[in-house]
């Protein structure tokens, strides 16, 4: 099976990731074209949650730094995008998204330098304070940043070449929610390929070394501070890009969109999915996107009042969180992998052995 995968996907990590990215792209096109506008919009949401979760899972899973405040970087990305899309001649979308990621990168570097000195609960406390503090800034600068009301975002016009290209392939016209879903998933695929390669590279090995053996890493000549700051910057950049996409999908950047709840939900999502794994980040993003609507629907089918049905969604989400942490501490992705490994070990497959050897 492993050799088959090698043949299909290519042997070097880069080729594997690129092949998979292409496959993912095909899946995205098929799925987006075969679903309606509402599902398209949900997939757009899943994409921005996925990008933010992917960055966060790299930071926490690979580098061992905790952040309770990534919603703050999403807010920075969202406000950057909203500001650049204002006015009569807004900037081109790729530029807007790059800027959203770039400003978050700068903010991440600033916070990362401070965070590199802290560990465990002290870092948690500092990032928690960050998550609460950032939404207050646009309220203070109400004239420029819209205050509590926020900045509304106009979705940029769909470029003709893009609509034509998609029409050429699929024969369908482009709606704005489908366009945003495409943009989101393109960003997600690019981000994930970059993150996966980064994790496989020397940088990723450095991060893991810093996480697992601080002293050994230092003896090996690794600059601990630099490694930590870099990991923080990378994940903040992802959050900024995700924030830019969120502003497009939500059509607004407002303080009440970036409460502490957002940061904490992101965190729980990556643990639910499986910490340190991009697959896990995607699973977590899917849960964040689809679970509330599903559970509220069940509640209403059960004949609960609207208010009670609405409370059911957080209740179930909380219960799932508690149960997963207690009974599948490696998250959903980890749990599935473990089950497969057990089965593989049972058959004595060689790939099972390499897997267990690879465990830290």
């Amino acid at each position: 099976m492993a050799t088959l995968a090698d043949r299909v996907l290519g042997r070097t990590p880069l080729r594997r990731h690129l092949t998979l990215a292409l496959l993912g792209l095909v899946v995205v096109v098929v799925v987006l074209e075969s679903t309606g506008q509402f599902r398209n919009a949900q997939f757009a949401a899943m994409a921005y949650y996925g990008i933010a979760a992917g960055g966060l899972t790299i930071l926490i899973g690979l580098n061992g730094q905790i952040s309770l405040g990534h919603g703050a970087f999403m807010a920075i990305g969202a406000y950057t995008a909203a500001l650049l899309l204002r006015g009569d001649e807004p900037f081109a979308l790729p530029l807007v998204l790059l800027a959203a990621a770039g400003v978050a990168l700068a903010a991440g570097a600033l916070v990362g330098v401070a965070a590199a000195r802290l560990h465990g609960p002290y870092l948690a406390g500092a990032t928690l304070a960050l998550a609460v503090a950032v939404p207050g800034i646009p309220v203070y600068f109400g004239e420029a940043l819209g205050g509590e009301q926020g900045l509304t975002v106009r979705v940029p016009r769909i470029p003709d070449w893009f609509a034509d290209a998609v029409f050429f392939v699929t024969g369908q016209d482009m709606s704005s929610s489908r366009y945003l879903a495409y943009v989101g998933w393109l960003c997600l695929i690019v981000t994930f390929v970059l993150l996966a390669n980064l994790a496989r590279s020397r940088v990723g090995r450095t991060w893991r070394a810093v996480r697992d053996h601080e002293v050994a890493a230092e003896l090996a000549g690794i600059d601990l501070g630099r490694a930590r700051v870099l990991a923080f910057v990378v994940s903040a950049t992802c959050a900024g890009l995700a924030g830019g996409l969120l502003a497009l999908s939500a059509r607004i950047a407002a303080p009440s969109g970036f409460t502490l709840t957002l940061s904490l939900l992101l965190l729980s999502a990556i643990v639910l999915g499986g910490l340190g794994s991009l697959t896990g980040a995607l699973i977590g993003a899917a849960l964040l996107t689809f679970l509330p609507q599903l559970v509220t629907g069940w509640g209403q089918d059960l004949g609960l009042s609207d208010v009670r049905a609405a409370e059911l969604a957080p209740l179930i989400y909380g219960l799932v969180t508690v149960l997963v942490v207690l009974f599948a501490p490696a998250g959903i992705a980890g749990g599935v992998l473990a089950a497969r490994r057990r089965r593989a070990a049972h058959h004595g497959s060689p790939s099972a052995r390499t897997d267990s050897e690879a465990r830290p």
């Binding site: 949900q42 949401a45 899943m46 899973g61 926020g150 939500a250 697959t279 689809f290 897997d355």
Partner: protein, 441 residues
């Protein structure tokens, strides 16, 4: 942990595909061609499906989560009495937790998945602000937003499908400002504002009349319950009249803190925050030992009114709402939030009837523009609806709370945003509900 890089590719693809397919399976995809029947989306021969977004969970839920239950009770009442031209109203409520991102998501669901005919009563300025462009782009009537922000109605050419309902905060500020200028011209005035468009628009209106009298402005953040530093600043300014643009819980908090500080100015709360029944019940608790009587704390407080509320249970409209709530309400008492919801629902039914036997989305918008200014209902002042304005109720009266009941201080005062003069207009105040409680078509 290293294996994640090896495997993620394969697994990701599988999981993506799985999640996507599972998600697709759960959805209902009913593509329609908007050119053919788009304008009657949500309407069948025997139903009208409408939707609304409200904070049912989270910090904004206390109070506001009761509004949709008022809507629901009135729709159930109308449905039990034959519906609108034989069509039953189905009201789909979604929780947005007062988070604009969630509002966008649930509005997508309501419009694209539930295929509502119209959005009715969507609550909140930042939340609803996120979906106004979308609703207008999809040509979904966006009726009677539950917020007094100006943006729902002052630019009908930009948002032709959106209509306000309650008096906007600016005209309320103007009416309050003029009353102060005429009746308390020597007062040193301080403003206690919620730090959003509610406080900002209110301040703008007030300043038109008493800019020179204002000695201090303090703002509080919704969610931060410690307002003592703000109250201390008001006290230090020496103000003897405080105008509060607050929500009811912050009205109660400001009263409690002023008690602690021994600060006793005259209070004028905007309509939003001066629910005497609610604030009185919140304060009544503290009467034991500390205060002689809960409602007494509010005695002498001045506020405004634009619809009859629970403090006047004998008002014919209140009798109707009480009957509706007794027959069709859920748990709990009839509160002013529910009265607000029912009053909005009444206007919606009126608009649908005005749109005729075979309503369309464009038809209901045209009907409100044409005859909305003549709608008779619980509101004390007429609506401003026309082709040029989609702003809601045009005025209110100033009342003073005595023993938990509002006593009129002025006739109904009517005005508009900007420099429009304030005039007396009692024409709508005498409207009585129709005998069967359902507006006449």
């Amino acid at each position: 942990m290293r294996r994640w890089t090896k495997r993620w590719t394969r697994v990701t693809a599988l999981v993506c595909a799985g999640a996507l397919l599972a998600a697709c399976g759960a959805g209902e995809e009913r593509e329609r061609d908007p050119a053919v029947e788009g304008s009657t989306v949500g309407i069948t021969d025997d139903t009208i499906t409408i939707g609304g977004h409200f904070p049912l969970t989270g910090v904004a839920a206390p109070g506001y989560s009761e509004i949709p239950s008022g809507h629901q009770a009135y729709y159930d009442y109308v449905n039990a009495n034959g519906g609108i031209n034989g069509r039953k109203i189905e009201f789909v409520v979604r929780d947005d937790a007062y988070n604009p991102t969630t509002t966008s998501q649930v509005t997508n669901e309501l419009v694209l998945n539930e295929e509502i005919f119209a959005m009715v009563g969507g609550l909140g300025t930042p939340t609803h602000g996120a979906v106004v462009d979308f609703l207008n782009g999809e040509k979904v009537p966006d009726l009677f937003v539950s917020s007094g922000s100006l943006q729902w109605g002052d630019q009908p050419d930009k948002s032709p499908f959106t209509f306000g309902w309650q008096p906007d905060y600016e005209i309320e500020g103007k009416i309050i400002g003029q009353w102060v200028a005429e009746n308390l011209p020597d007062a040193k005035v301080a403003l206690f504002l919620q730090d959003d468009d509610f406080g900002r628009d209110g301040e703008k209106g007030v300043r038109q009349f008493i800019d020179g009298q204002i000695v201090e402005v303090q703002k509080y953040q919704s969610g931060n319950t410690d307002v003592a530093p703000q109250m201390a600043a008001l006290q230090a300014s020496g103000a003897d009249l405080v105008l509060g643009f607050t929500t009811p819980s912050y009205t109660a908090l400001s009263q409690l803190v002023s008690l602690r500080l021994g600060y006793q100015p005259k209070w004028f709360y905007s309509n939003v925050g001066a629910d005497p029944a609610l604030v009185g019940s919140l304060l009544a608790r503290f009467s034991e030992g500390a205060v002689t009587d809960g409602t007494q704390l509010l005695d002498g407080v001045v506020t405004t009114e634009y619809i009859p509320g629970t403090d006047v249970p004998d008002d014919p409209w209140m009798t109707l709402w009480q009957k509706v709530w007794d027959e069709h309400g859920g748990e709990g008492e009839l509160t002013n939030y529910r009265v607000f919801g029912m009053s909005q629902a009444y206007t919606f039914v009126q608009a649908m009837l005005a749109a005729g036997e075979n309503p369309t989305r464009e038809g209901v918008v045209a009907a409100i523009e044409k005859s909305g200014a003549d709608f008779q209902g619980p509101a004390l002042a007429p609506f401003r609806f026309s082709g040029e304005s989609h702003l809601g109720i045009s005025g209110m009266q100033v009342v003073e709370i005595k023993g938990g009941v509002g006593q009129e201080l002025t006739p109904v005062l009517v005005t508009d945003i900007g420099d429009a003069p304030i005039e007396e207009d009692d024409s709508a105040a005498g409207d009585a509900p129709p005998p069967n409680g359902i507006p006449e078509g």
